[in-house]
Amino acid sequence: MARCKPTSSKPLLRAGQTVTGLWHQKTYRVEQAVGAGAVGEVYRVLDETGTAYALKVSLQSSEIALEHRMLKDVQGVARGVDLGPLVYDLDDCQTAQGKAFFYVMEWVRGTTLPAFLRMRGAHWTPVLLLQLSTYLERLHAHGLCFGDLKLDNCLVEEATGTLRLVDFGGVTPFGRGVKEYTEWYDRAWWGQGSRVADAGYDLFALSMLAVTLLLPELTQRTAGAGRPDFSYLKKYAFNNPTVAPWRGVLHGIWSGRLRTAVEVRQALSPLVQKSIDEEKRTRGSARGSRDRRAGQRRRDWTDWMLYGSFALLLLVFCQYLILG
């Protein structure tokens, strides 16, 4: 069973080919590869009606079976919040490398967090983290740790600013060892706790996600440097003016004062309030200067959609702040 692979091996599927499920006979047309991990590869595909989906395929049947099952369980946990991608078909197929196993899930549209923040402004950061805290709270209430929380597993829909989590491969029940992790976000790697799945594990990952958004240069500096130095990271972060409004939240998570996703959400609310004010200012002045340039008063539909959806989004999440 040995196979000496270089770090990148041959892909299982090709763009343009058709995949047919051996059990359910559904066909999918492969559009393009979108990612590959340790377990399998993800492709964008079209079904018979031309609707886009994400298809995850692997040579390991157990991983596909477990992930599909986890996504289905999460759908039960979601209760109206778009927690995870919806899952559809689960099947086997023939590939150039033999029998493979796949499942089909919702194609989540969106850009990465850094790209979104560049487009809309850094003041959106608290709003995005608020959404994440809400998802985590929902998962934790059901004894599940997300596990592999990182930038790569988050997408933001450009028009509405809605954040979606993708890749639930690391979801682990509380008490077990986290099954998939990434060093930068891993509490144990930084020497700040164990790799046991619990609420604190996700909150630490959330704090590191915040750090990588606020101080992207820091991620580069600590990569591959041998034993990671958390006190250096803390010092660098707390001495940096960009991080000043975030001190309370970060210190709260790192000291253990903020123990639950609910508490983190509450700690984020003053920052979110400032985001709303900033968005009002930005929208107002942008529209004003554009109208002056155009020489007449013009109603721009994108304006209203963005401003309106921002407010609506906050209203939806604010209900958790009031009730939660």
């Binding site: 040995a2 196979r3 049947s61 991983e63 079976a65 077990r176 591959g224 034993r227």
Partner: protein, 246 residues
């Protein structure tokens, strides 16, 4: 049978070919026959790995019934975790498949996809609860010297992963070549938390790369109990599973 299940693995880390001592393939074959899986990690040297070395690594893993990967030193931690976990899963999966074939005439992949998750969950749980005895065999020949700090960090990280398993683990560390002209050095005997400080003291200026003898030593350490207590436990399965029962 599940209660006594102990996973025995040798994880070999090298950056090149063996050039001294007995044939490492034979050593790997012997290990496998005793129920020990031999996995191999080849560590790239500035993106390079000799074709001969790659072939040898693949053959050792194949003879040892395990996996082979050639990676950068900074990917060691993740690779070690992945390989040890994967090996455990494969071992249990094989046993489960055998049971399934006897019960329903097919292995797990013959079941409809929707029915597989429960089997997969059981295999996952059993893998997490199984006792593990792992020997890390680390090449400390001259070319490995600048990679050893990363090897040490990777082992530290592997320990973090082993600690959170439900099952117990015992980890031993060997380096080769050894000090004072010996082929192999025991840096740490079986313990749940080996002291890694000594690892850096195992750097040797010369001594070749005696991979075969190192694998043999690891095999002896892992099969101690088997040699002392053959055929322990009332196991109704055939002889091939006997090696897994301690």
């Amino acid at each position: 049978m599940w209660k006594n299940l102990t996973m025995k693995q040798i994880l070999l880390m090298t950056d090149g070919c063996s050039n001294k001592g007995s044939n490492p393939l034979e050593a790997a074959r012997l290990a496998r026959s005793l129920g020990i899986t031999v996995n191999v990690i080849g560590i790239l040297d500035q993106g390079e790995y000799s074709a001969v070395g790659r072939q040898e690594a693949e053959e050792i893993a194949s003879a040892g019934g395990g996996l082979c990967r050639v990676v950068e030193a900074r990917q060691l931690a993740m690779t070690m975790q992945m390989m040890t976990k994967h090996t455990v899963q494969m071992t249990i999966q094989q046993v489960v498949n055998k049971e399934l074939r006897q019960l329903v005439g097919t292995d797990v992949e013959g079941l409809p996809p929707e029915k597989r998750s429960e089997v997969a969950q059981m295999v996952d749980r059993l893998g997490d609860e199984a006792a593990m005895r792992l020997v890390l065999v680390v090449d400390t020949s001259a070319s490995m010297h600048d990679k050893l700090p990363l090897v040490r960090e990777a082992i530290r990280d592997l320990q973090l992963g082993l600690e959170v398993r439900q099952g117990t683990h015992q980890l031993a560390i060997l380096t080769y070549p050894g000090l004072q002209g010996l082929d192999v050095q025991v840096v740490s005997d079986f313990t749940d938390q080996p002291d890694l400080h000594n690892l850096m003291n195992m750097l040797v200026a010369s001594g070749g790369t005696p991979t075969g003898p190192a694998l043999e030593k690891a095999t002896r350490m892992l099969s101690q109990e088997l040699l002392q207590n053959p055929k322990r436990g009332g196991d109704e399965h055939d002889g091939s599973m006997q090696a897994y029962v301690v």
